[in-house]
């Protein structure tokens, strides 16, 4: 534990309600990659929905088979239980077959009172992907103009993009300097994940407060990379600390894979597209085995990580494909790895803790 305190981070629902009281709109955004700045240019605050864990999934199960992951199942149950009533619209980026299915279900069958906007993220590399995504963003912009009656100029949009890029810069600093911050694992992840719902101004203030909290001594524990989709359940983070490990870098889709560099163009949609597609390699974007391996090795090289914990969500196919190749490739570089599988609705099992403990003992 640390002898300081971060400012209190409000709950997602409080932030959403405050934004609406101030006259803005709220978008509930499903994982993973999306144009936050474009929404903000229309005064729409994005509140991300990663599950959430521990939802009563009874109603979600009436639409989805049990072999669909808990992120998707919980999101639908949360919506059906009224958890997203505060939102005006739902943005469903295309990340995998299950999220694709959820978008389709929402549009065709569930038909919530919200406006549902799907958004396709291209898997093609290079200019083709960027050109398509720029057009997709322009189409989304047109749709938002239609729905909100607002028409931000190119200049307004470019300004919004630049402001979000600056906030992304703060987020990147938090990740880069995490070892010297006086924050434990849970505090760190609460702080960086505040980017999922706080307006950039509030997030930047919070991030700067976090960056000001410096650790006087090094952190103990075996240095690890955490890879996967989302750092849930949070008990995993506590367990890593309690059992003698420490996370020095992450390759999580919710966190480290969204450290987007700024775009270069002066046309706002093109710039957004460049930025979104230039993030670290992500399985849901179809990154190659080699790119992912190179990235993990580079992370380990930069941070001194001695091993990787792959934290998988049950039934998350994109994350499962490369595990044999990644683990082999990491081992060749002297990095051991452990695969844990969780469901957002289940507590961390004794078996999982035992495996984590054995892994850390082996590395000690």
């Amino acid at each position: 534990m640390t002898d300081h305190a971060l400012p209190v981070i409000p709950r997602r629902s409080e932030v959403a309600r405050a934004h609406r009281r101030a006259g803005g709109r709220v978008a509930a955004v499903l994982p993973i990659h999306y144009p936050r700045a474009l929404l903000r240019a229309f005064d729409i605050l994005s509140i991300e929905v990663w599950g959430p864990p521990g939802v009563d999934t009874g109603r979600g199960m009436t639409h989805l088979q049990p072999y669909v992951c808990s992120i998707v199942r919980n999101a639908l149950a949360f919506l059906e239980n009224g958890g997203l009533d505060v939102a005006d619209l739902l943005l469903v980026p295309h990340a995998c077959d299950s999220l694709q299915g959820l978008g389709s279900l929402l549009l065709d069958f569930v038909r919530p009172r919200h406006l549902v906007l799907p958004f396709y993220l291209p898997r093609a590399d290079g200019a083709q992907g960027r050109e398509f995504l720029s057009e997709e963003l322009r189409a989304l912009r047109g749709r938002l103009e239609q729905e909100t009656g607002r028409s931000p100029s190119d200049g307004d949009l470019l300004e919004a993009v630049r402001r979000e890029e600056a906030a992304d810069g703060c987020l990147a600093r938090l990740h880069a300097e995490r070892e010297s911050l006086a924050l434990d694992e849970v505090e760190f992840y609460r702080l960086v994940r505040a980017r999922e719902f706080l307006p950039l101004e509030d997030f930047t203030r919070l991030a700067n407060a976090g960056l000001a909290l410096r650790r006087r001594e090094g952190r103990p524990g075996i240095p690890l990379i955490l890879s996967g989709i989302v750092p849930e359940p949070m008990d995993v983070l506590r367990a890593i600390g309690d059992l003698g490990g420490r996370v020095v870098a992450d390759d999580l889709a919710a966190c480290g894979r969204r450290l987007y560099p700024p775009g270069g163009s002066e046309e706002p949609c093109a710039r957004l597209a460049e930025s979104l597609l230039a993030g670290p390699p992500d399985s849901t974007r179809g990154a190659s085995v080699e790119d992912r391996l190179r990235h993990l090795r580079a992370l380990a090289g930069r941070t001194g990580a001695a091993g990787v914990v792959f934290l998988g969500v049950k039934f998350c196919e994109p994350e499962l494909f490369y595990l044999p190749q990644l683990r082999d490739g990491l081992l060749q570089a002297g990095l051991r790895s452990l695969v844990l599988e969780v469901d957002l609705n289940d507590p961390l099992s004794r078996q999982t803790l035992t495996r984590l403990e054995a892994f850390l003992e082996m590395m000690a």
């Binding site: 694709q100 069958f109 291209p122 083709q128 997709e136 039934f315 196919e317 595990l323 190749q325």
Partner: protein, 435 residues
């Protein structure tokens, strides 16, 4: 033995095997069912056609390039460039029907692949690791072509293959069509990717794409798809002359030999035989009383047992959204505008469209084929096909009054197939149909 000689000998053996199978079929030696009509007389020829394809793969001339492609990929360009084209999904299906898939899946799982991955993937990765396959040998690829219009699974799968074989992967990414038509920028995006894929494929093949050859491949592809659709449409007649089980068995050429003249010839012959069955009043099920729609991939290892259980009650599986998918887009193929039409055709498969579109397709098929009910195979290995089925079932029952049954299984992994449970659910469904 040289590849040419081996192929000659292999073809002779296949011809002999086919003739023997035809003779046995004429004597009714291999068929034991009180409820189902025997397979089509042309079944041995279909089997020979597919076997010849794999034989060709084992005996390729030196230097001929091999491409592995996904079932929804624009393979016409590769065919026109002279590639020998392999469909790992079809290979997976052959392994499933031959009941080898569980063993192969286990081999992949031993190597660290999760049981939650698609069972076609695990089957093929199992073959890759063990060399075991019912087709003798699968020629390794010089090139991979994956199109995301059937699922995102192929993206991970083909990346793994690219890593394993160290060969280029060409990706055709097709934006998913939720509940509207493809946007202009989506069509342009797909077209640009196909054009770029051609230039890479040309480089590897060492030759330029001959546009007249591409047009001819497109023409044959369209013709085969049309014939396939006509064969399926024969089931508007009562009794349905060709069961969905036969359709599953005979769909391999339209998937993996689209664009080949032999495929066109084969389907033309099948159409004649099926029309002959209509003329003679022969049904796929004796004393047909009810007709059902099958949704999703087949359960390859349980085709016969499901058909028998239904056939016993005079129930025919008369139509399938899955086999329909290989014919319904035939009109979109325009051999004179190959790139533009390929971009459109490959954006519109049922799996690249929303759950509401699938429901609309099912409704249309229920009407066209005068169907009495629907079996929705909830396929653990195919999320894009399966998500939405619970709502589709509810709508079919509520809006159309069409009985609908959700059947939990997996297309290739028999370990998740609970035979008794399936039998019980089928029996209850049959009762509901008031047969």
């Amino acid at each position: 033995m040289s590849p040419g000689l081996a192929r000659l000998a292999g073809n002779a053996a296949l011809r002999f095997g086919r003739q023997r199978a035809e003779a046995r079929a004429r004597r009714g030696a291999d068929w034991r069912s009180d409820f189902l009509a025997p397979p089509l007389r042309l079944a041995p020829r279909g089997k020979e056609l597919v076997a010849r394809h794999w034989l060709e793969g084992r005996t390729l001339e030196r230097g001929r390039k091999v491409a592995w492609v996904t079932s929804g990929a624009p393979a016409e360009v590769l065919k026109a460039l002279g590639y020998f084209v392999v469909y790992p999904e079809n290979h997976g299906a052959i392994c499933g029907a031959a009941r080898m898939a569980v063993d192969l899946c286990s081999r992949a799982e031993d190597a660290g692949y999760s049981r939650d991955l698609c069972s076609y993937v695990r089957t093929d990765l199992g073959t890759l690791r063990s060399g075991r396959t019912p087709v003798g040998r699968v020629p390794p690829p010089d090139l991979l072509l994956a199109c995301t219009n059937i699922c995102q699974t192929v993206l991970g799968w083909y990346r793994v293959l690219a890593h394993h074989f160290r060969v280029p992967l060409l990706l055709i990414d097709t934006p998913f069509l939720y509940n509207e038509d493809a946007s202009q920028h989506a069509v342009a995006y797909v077209r640009r990717q196909i054009e770029q894929a051609v230039s890479v494929a040309e480089r590897i093949a060492g030759e330029s794409l001959d546009e007249s050859r591409l047009r001819e491949t497109g023409r044959l592809s369209r013709l085969a798809s049309h014939l396939w659709m006509e064969i399926m449409r024969c089931n508007v007649h009562r009794p349905a002359p060709i069961s969905v089980i036969d359709q599953f068995t005979h769909m391999a050429p339209v998937v993996e030999m689209r664009g080949d003249p032999a495929t066109v010839d084969f389907y033309a012959a099948v159409l004649l035989e099926v029309q002959g069955r209509i003329a003679s009043g022969t049904g796929a099920v004796h004393r047909e009383r009810k007709r059902l729609l099958w949704d999703n991939l087949p359960i390859w290892y349980a085709l016969r047992s499901v058909a028998e259980r239904l056939g016993e009650h005079g129930i025919a599986l008369a139509a399938s959204t899955y086999t329909n998918a290989w014919g319904e887009l035939a009109d979109l193929i325009d051999p004179d505008e190959p790139f533009e039409s390929m971009a459109r055709t490959y954006l519109y498969p049922i799996l690249n469209r929303g759950a509401g579109h699938k429901l609309a397709t099912m409704r249309a098929m229920i009407e066209t084929y005068a169907l009495d009910g629907v079996i929705l195979h909830s396929d653990r290995s195919c999320k894009p096909y399966s998500i939405g089925q619970l709502d589709q079932r509810d709508h079919l029952i509520r809006d159309l009054g069409t009985p609908a049954l959700l059947l939990e299984a997996d297309h290739n992994d028999a370990r998740v197939y609970a035979e008794e449970q399936v039998a019980g659910r089928l029996d209850a469904f049959v009762e509901m149909l008031e047969v």
